[in-house]
């Protein structure tokens, strides 16, 4: 497979655009000195990822990603940011001073991971490109072969819900407790 054939395919153009958006937004997430900008860059990265999922013919997962991440998780993050640091402007002390070491570790990890996958898969093509996976297939699989993990995950969510409320709740001091009983 040569590079000319690869560029000639319109799906690869979509991949290049989405990939640049995702990579640029992810870079902003980890380098931005403004916490709100970092959280909003994550929105762009996740939206680009949803586009990649559509390219990979995984419609249902793409829209789950949009709903769960962009709809719920990012809102949670914005609340967390606004609660833990009231002045949300530019912040100079957001990073450690030892950035070079972190960059070396991350760069080395990228080289190792991409070298490994290039060695293992070479130019393996995707099968049945452009043919979407029916949501019916995913649903039948979720409630058929994977019904036990599905239930386990629902317990995890319930535990997280209760745990989150319990951890974040403000406990009353003994004096306040007495006062509350009296009322």
């Amino acid at each position: 497979m040569n590079i000319g054939d690869w560029i000639g395919h319109p799906a690869n153009w979509a991949f290049i655009i989405l990939g640049l958006v995702v990579a640029g937004a992810a870079f902003r997430v980890v380098t931005s000195q403004n916490v709100i900008h970092a959280a909003l860059a994550l929105v762009a990265a996740l939206a680009g990822t949803a586009g990649l999922f559509l390219l990979l013919s995984a419609e249902f997962v793409a829209w789950v990603l949009v709903l769960v991440y962009i709809g719920a998780v990012i809102v949670l993050f914005l609340f967390g940011i606004m609660i833990t640091r009231a002045p949300t402007g530019r912040d100079v002390a957001l990073d450690h001073s030892r950035k070079a070491w972190a960059a070396i570790v991350a760069g080395g990890l990228f080289v190792v991971l991409s070298w490994g996958s290039l060695q293992a898969f070479g130019t393996t093509e995707l099968t049945n490109q452009g043919e979407p996976t029916a949501t019916e297939t995913v649903g039948l699989s979720l409630l058929g072969r994977f019904v036990i993990p599905f239930e386990a995950v629902s317990f995890v969510l319930l535990a997280a819900l209760i745990g989150g409320i319990t951890i974040a709740r403000k406990d009353l001091t003994p004096a306040e407790e007495v006062e509350r009983e009296a009322r």
């Binding site: 980890v30 972190a102 996958s117 979720l142 951890i167």
Partner: protein, 101 residues
């Protein structure tokens, strides 16, 4: 489309997530970096599913599980950060030396 273009992009996202995890001081920013890494794993799962094309869409089911667990992780993580902030008036991970001997 070859599978490797997606795998290399996911590796890049994962490496950026690791960089953010190591370099950020604010705990909320660390959680954002963890989200990037989980997202990279999701891209890998969906890309492998697009190669294997199993009859039960196993890769997509696992991506949904990862998304669910990530949502739970963010909820608990932010609750813990909130609690630490309330007790210590700081959400910087390098200032949390409470359990350090």
């Amino acid at each position: 489309m070859i599978v490797n273009q997606f795998l290399v992009l996911a590796a890049l996202l994962f490496a950026l997530g690791v960089y953010g995890l190591l370099v950020r001081r604010n705990a909320v920013m660390v959680l954002l970096a963890v989200e990037l890494m989980l997202n990279a794993v999701n891209i890998n799962l969906i890309a492998f599913e697009a190669v294997l094309r199993s009859s039960e869409a196993v890769g997509q089911v696992f991506a949904i599980f990862v998304i669910t667990v990530a949502a739970a992780e963010v909820g608990i993580g932010l609750a813990i950060v909130l609690m630490i902030f309330r007790n210590r008036a700081s959400a910087n991970v390098d200032e949390l030396n409470l359990m350090k001997w």
